[in-house]
């Protein structure tokens, strides 16, 4: 759907090209920020698959992200680099398995139960890393050696270099986006759209919707775990807050901000959220209030729900509706 029009392809190519050229002009701070945003965009895409495409409001996406990140750190011996080619699959597998376990239970519930239960299971994972010896304490764990990416003795990527990390994140974002775009046009993707629109009808037609939803949930967890791997390699540090429910909440805000039901909405949302954060954290504008930036974010969210239920992507439509309604009303008043 996303590549149907030639215009969209050109637009997407332009955005990718701009992102690819960005490190040439940006400083260290900019490269680091955009790397982080792109990783969160991958994570937001994983949630968009559930919320926007399948209609499952998951409030526990951070758990899969955090598990992926923790797995990278915990599976790396203290002073020895490990090949990314088995570290990444292992970490993604951990997140996938937890998603399979959680999904098989939470998909037995519906609607508001689903929201609460996904949140509760994410919290369960949070406590595993927060309280038990497995998580090595509440302060977090450092990754002393970043993984290696060698094939036959040739180093493909040096993860110690920020610019390399930037391009890895960009490639991951493009690959995830393209994969999901193709997936959504496939029979599986159309079946998810059908489940979102009318699950009862899908069952009547002969689709075992539970299996479809479980597959989507597990896939989404795998992608979130993948984002976690990228994050752990980039930051070389993990702590339990990666699994905290505030991240799950922020992710929901991102995909709504960008506009639900469109893949690029998740990407725009990740960038918009980061810009919003930078804006409210700016001391130049808000002075002492800058450290209370969440206040501004909270008010923005409230205003968005009240005024813009369709997100930024719905802004043009909302504006034109406003404009169309006003003259109509005054005309009605004159008559």
């Amino acid at each position: 759907m996303d590549f149907r029009g030639g215009r969209n392809v050109v637009l997407a190519a332009a955005v990718v090209a701009a992102l690819a050229l960005f490190p040439l002009v940006a400083g260290k701070f900019g490269i680091d920020l955009v790397t982080k945003i792109m990783i969160f965009a991958v994570l937001a895409l994983s949630l968009e698959l559930l919320v926007g495409q399948t209609g499952l409001v998951c409030f526990g996406q951070a758990a899969f992200f955090g598990i992926g990140a923790y797995a990278v750190v915990l599976a790396t011996p203290q002073y020895q680099a490990v090949s990314i080619f088995w570290l990444a699959p292992l970490a993604v597998a951990c997140a996938t398995l937890y998603a399979l376990f959680v999904g098989s239970l939470v998909l037995r519930t519906r609607g508001v139960y689903f929201i609460m239960v996904t949140l509760a299971f994410a919290q369960m994972a949070y406590y595993v890393f927060h309280d038990t010896p497995l998580g090595r304490g509440t302060d977090g764990v450092y990754l002393y050696v970043r993984p290696s990416a060698e094939v036959f003795g040739v180093t493909l990527v040096n993860f110690e270099k920020p610019v390399s990390l930037y391009y890895v994140a960009l490639a991951a974002l493009v690959a995830t986006f393209a994969f999901l775009a193709v997936l959504l046009r496939s029979r599986f993707g159309r079946a998810l759209a059908g489940i979102k629109a009318n699950e009862q009808r899908m069952r009547a037609a002969g689709f075992s919707t539970y299996a479809y939803k479980l597959a989507a949930f597990t896939l989404s967890g795998a992608i979130a775990g993948f984002a976690g791997v990228l994050f752990a390699v980039k930051d070389a540090f993990v702590n339990p807050e990666l699994l905290a429910w505030h991240l799950s909440g922020s992710l929901l805000v991102m995909i709504i901000l960008g506009g639900l039901g469109r893949l690029w909405g998740a990407v725009i949302g990740a960038f918009a959220y980061a810009l919003l954060q930078e804006f409210f954290q700016s001391q130049a504008i808000f002075g002492d209030l800058a450290k209370h930036w969440l206040l501004g974010l909270g008010l923005t969210i409230i205003a968005m729900v009240a005024l813009l239920p369709e997100g930024l992507a719905g802004l043009p439509a909302a504006v034109s509706r406003r404009l169309a309604r006003k003259p109509a009303r005054s005309a009605g008043g004159n008559a």
């Binding site: 029979r187 993707g189 159309r190 629109a197 009862q200 009808r201 899908m202 009547a204 002969g206 597959a215």
Partner: protein, 251 residues
């Protein structure tokens, strides 16, 4: 008459909700080549009966057989894939999709291939053909590219049937397909039913008595969840008990 080719059979189906018995020991057979109508007042348990047959809700007791196989424990999607199609009394479509996509998605259930993530859904010629065929049969050929949400009420009812046909079922459970249709649309729907009759076993729940007597080969009358008569239309019309309980209102 040759032995009827029974495709679906319900045996002593019962469904209780708390103290209320919505369906009470109902047995019926649906044979290929015949239209079996179920009539009764509102709340007589007709829709619940369809839900029991289609697998939407499990029976409190009793047994459902589909093409000779005991499917009582099967979930609805499995029964649907085995050749059972149903339509809903309250229109149940995908309003955001086009008419074509509504039908294509229904047809996709016959060839799901969910793992083939790289294949375009609309590249499957079989499903596309089945979708176009079903839409044409239901009289929606001209509106195939319209969003389903924009169809008229009658159009939506037609689409409901088209989606059911797109899954290529052998047994059709139709819950008030004529509700809210005009005279012309009703005629067309009855023609369609007559056309479908030879290859299918059809259960028709309907309030429109004229239509029922025009098309049904057999009529079952339900009152308070129980069957009070099940016979050929003429015999049912003549049945004094039925007249007292139900048809009397119309006579």
């Amino acid at each position: 008459m040759a032995t009827p080719d029974v495709l679906m059979r319900g045996e002593k189906l019962t469904r209780r909700w708390g103290g209320l018995t919505a369906v009470d020991e109902v047995s019926l057979e649906l044979a290929r080549g015949s239209v079996h109508a179920v009539i009764g007042t509102n709340g007589a348990g007709k829709s619940t009966l369809i839900n029991l047959l289609s697998g939407e809700i499990p029976p409190s007791s009793g047994r459902v057989e589909l093409k000779g196989v005991d499917v009582t424990a099967w979930p609805q999607p499995a029964r649907a894939r085995a050749g059972l199609g149903r339509s809903y009394q309250r229109t149940t479509i995908f309003p955001q999709f086009t008419v074509f996509e509504n039908c294509r998605l229904s047809a996709q259930s016959r060839l799901q291939r969910p793992w083939a993530w790289w294949e375009r859904a609309d590249a499957c010629a079989l499903a596309v053909e089945a979708a176009r065929g079903a839409a044409a049969k239901a009289g929606l050929a001209a509106e195939i590219d319209r969003p389903a949400g924009l169809l008229s009420h009658g159009g939506r009812r037609q689409l409901e049937i088209a989606m059911c046909l797109a899954t290529d079922p052998e047994v059709l459970l139709l819950d008030e397909p004529l509700a809210g249709m005009g005279a012309e649309e009703t005629d067309r729907m009855l023609e369609l039913l007559a056309e479908l009759r030879p290859g299918h076993a059809i259960l028709l729940v309907e309030h429109d008595m004229d239509a029922v007597f025009r098309v049904a080969d057999r009529i079952t009358v339900m009152v308070n969840g129980a069957v009070i008569a099940s016979d050929a239309p003429q015999a049912v019309r003549a049945n004094p008990e039925v007249q007292a309980a139900y048809l009397g209102h119309h006579a």
